[in-house]
Amino acid sequence: MEAVRCDGTTVRGCEGAKVNNATSILDVSALTIVRGARTLADDVSFSATRGEVVVLRGPSGAGKTTVLRAIAGLDPIAAGRITVDGVAIGPGRTPRARALRELHRRVGMVFQFHHLFEHLTAFENVWLAPVHVLRQPRAEAERRAHELLEQLGIGARARALPRELSGGEAQRVAIARALAVGPQVLLMDEPTASLDTERRDSLAGTLRQLAAGGCTLVLASHDEEFIRACSHRVILMQAGRVVGPS
């Protein structure tokens, strides 16, 4: 089987995963997130190794998205620690710019509603960050963007604007955009929310390939069938707390 590495290159079989699967890459320790008087996440701890697919499962309002956003460095945390490949962020109003920059090199996120840049085509959405953040030469970034879109099966839609894409297509563009900067951890919030059954199965296959390529995936989902199809480990959340593996 062919697998896609996090940096967008392709490997055969599960070679990438075999090399790295013993190494812990993500460590969430006693994470607490507070908004005003509400505690959205309370003492959440878990870790993930390279090539592992971890699913945060739970009903709406369980705190899954909150935890993913904190790992992505989007929201401040009240207590605890998040470490991604040696880069740690702790409590404080906003993490330091340098720590954030390092974090964003290692963590990518695919949002539930994709949040593609609406003024750019699918292709431009994918190569924009490699050129401006990683300072890759434009030609190289475009070539890799092209490869990624092809591998995810949407090469033909490269010139389409986000509003011209279906939910499934937009999601794959969002995945390609996140992978283009070569993250070690990919976060996905409710990845099956906008997909029909066929697309859901196809996505599960894609995620397995990514994991086989060495990418660590942390997903927030309550879709039982999808979770069974692609997860290595499930963490059950309820009311902001980890209530155990399911």
Binding site: R69, A72, G73, L74, R101, H104, R105, V107, G108, M109, F111, F113, H115, L116, F117, E118, H119, L128, A129, H132, V133, L134, L161, A174, R177, A178, V181
Partner: protein
């Protein structure tokens, strides 16, 4: 329900009849109280009353007609149009006799003769003796006056640069400040000008002679004839002399004028000061080059002001979206201050108010005034547009590692610009038209040039159509270009 309706109709008819009766018992006379003493001004002791020699002439005419005088305020430049519309029975406000006026309105006999006087700074008295000495120099006057016509002739003949003002106070204050090198206005204004502004002097050379007259609607010719009789009587029995002596305006020119009028020389006087009047069409054609020049000034001023407004508006909007709380508060205060006060006031403050500290050239003051004013509106458009870009996209940009600046330039800005384009186009068209306000600080743009042309030929029809056509030619392509761009982005 029938009875109350009928009662109401009867009541209305009674009120209407009473009002008509009151109109006949009054002599409504129009003037511009902004013109000030000695013409017409608010009484310093009772601001509800007006005083001035024109007020006394109105009283004289009203008493001769057996009516009570009632003052009707009207802007100086719109007195002709207001008289023609019948807003008042007679206009008296230092109105100059001219063939154009005579062709459009019923004009009284002249009741005062004045000389046009050149006012200069005392230090320049030796070198600027007449218009011939002022080649390449800026000479101020009021638009649509005999003095303005004389300056236009001197522009062709000597290369004098005429600068028109909306009022008769600022030409003299600007002469003191050095913004202009001379002022050409009638001797009544010139005397007041040097009295209020030490350091100025009136040159003894006569530049021209003119007359003050009353104006009425053409249909009011019978009333005008009765007023002429009253004026001739007042000239003969010394009542007019008494009025002008009270206002220190009496001089040797007046008895000569009165003697000529008593001999029946009204026609000869009317023809004397001005050359043959061209037809409306000829005058419009003659004014076309100056209208095109004025349109170019409007366009250049609008483009530069809009560029300034866009740049400043972007800075203000960025400050309000990204800045710390203190900066946000300061910028919000600034925007509210600018949006909450009239553009006209801002222009006055910039040009005249700050003149003691910094003397901005008129065009620059107009550019800054319009730019600052529109920047406040632009900033609100940009702020709204920036905030309309979905927060999710900003989160996505952050997770991809973009800095705030990169997010603004690559993600937020381009989308906000598309949202802002339509209101921006709208604002530019509005600015194009608002630029007409800068005529109050002596910039002669399209509308001002049109009003000068209209005053000169005594009609707004052809100048109005020409002016509207030019504004449309300036604004339509812009609106079209904006629509095309929007269409392209929509795909």
């Amino acid at each position: 329900m029938r009875r109350p309706t009928l009662t109401a109709i009867v009541l209305c008819l009674c009120v209407g009849a009473a009002a008509a009766g009151q109109e006949r018992s009054e002599l409504r006379w129009g003037g511009d109280a902004e013109g000030g003493a000695p013409f017409v001004e608010a009484d310093p002791n009772d601001l509800t009353r007006v005083v001035g020699f024109e007020v006394e002439i109105a009283q004289l005419l009203a008493s001769g007609l057996g009516r009570a005088p009632r003052f009707v305020q009207s802007g100086f430049t719109s007195l002709d149009a207001a008289a023609a519309r019948g807003d008042f029975d007679v206009g008296l406000s230092g109105i100059e006799d001219s063939p154009a006026r005579r062709s459009r309105l019923a004009v009284t006999i002249p009741y005062y003769q004045f000389r046009e006087v050149l006012t200069v700074r005392e230090g320049d008295a030796g070198r600027f003796r007449g218009l011939g000495d002022l080649a390449g120099r800026r000479v101020a006057t009021l638009g649509a006056t005999l003095a303005y016509d004389l300056l236009l002739a001197a522009q062709t003949k000597f290369g004098v640069v005429p600068v028109t003002y909306e009022d008769d106070v600022h030409p003299y204050t600007d002469l003191v400040l050095g913004r202009v090198d001379a002022v050409l206005l009638d001797e009544v204004l010139a005397r007041r000008g040097i009295r209020r502004n030490p350091g100025l002097t009136n040159q003894p050379t006569d530049v021209g002679v003119g007359y003050y007259v009353g104006i009425t609607a053409p249909a009011n010719a019978p009333l005008r004839d009765r007023m002429n009789e009253i004026l001739l009587q007042a000239m003969a029995d010394g009542r007019l002399e008494a009025i002008f002596r009270r206002w220190s305006m009496w001089n040797d020119d007046q008895p000569q004028l009165y003697a000529r009028l008593a001999r029946g020389g009204q026609g000869e006087i009317a023809q004397a000061p001005s050359p043959q009047q061209p037809s409306t069409f000829q005058a419009a054609v003659r004014y076309l080059p100056s209208l095109f020049r004025a349109a170019a000034i409007t366009l250049v001023l609008s483009c530069l002001s809009m560029s300034l407004a866009v740049a400043l508006g972007l800075a203000i909007a960025s400050g309000r979206v990204y800045g710390p709380p203190a900066v946000r508060m300061l910028l919000t205060g600034w925007v509210e201050l600018i949006r909450g006060t009239p553009l006209l006031l801002q222009l006055f403050v910039l040009y005249f108010g700050l003149a003691a500290i910094v003397q901005l050239p008129a065009f620059l003051a107009a550019l800054i005034g319009l730019g600052l004013n529109y920047a406040a509106y632009e900033s609100e458009i940009y702020r709204g547009a920036l905030e309309a870009v979905p927060a999710g996209q900003l989160d996505a940009a952050r997770t991809l590692g973009f800095t705030e600046r990169q997010t603004l330039v690559l993600v937020r800005g381009p989308q906000a610009f598309r949202l802002a384009l339509a209101p921006m186009t709208n604002d530019f068209v509005a600015l194009l038209k608002d630029s007409s306000l800068v005529s109050v600080i002596t910039v002669v743009e399209l509308t001002k040039q049109t009003s000068i042309l209209a005053a000169n030929i005594g009609s707004w029809v052809i100048p109005g159509i020409l002016c509207a056509a030019m504004y449309l030619v300036l604004s339509l392509p812009l609106a079209r270009a904006a629509r095309r761009l929007e269409g392209k982005w929509k795909r």
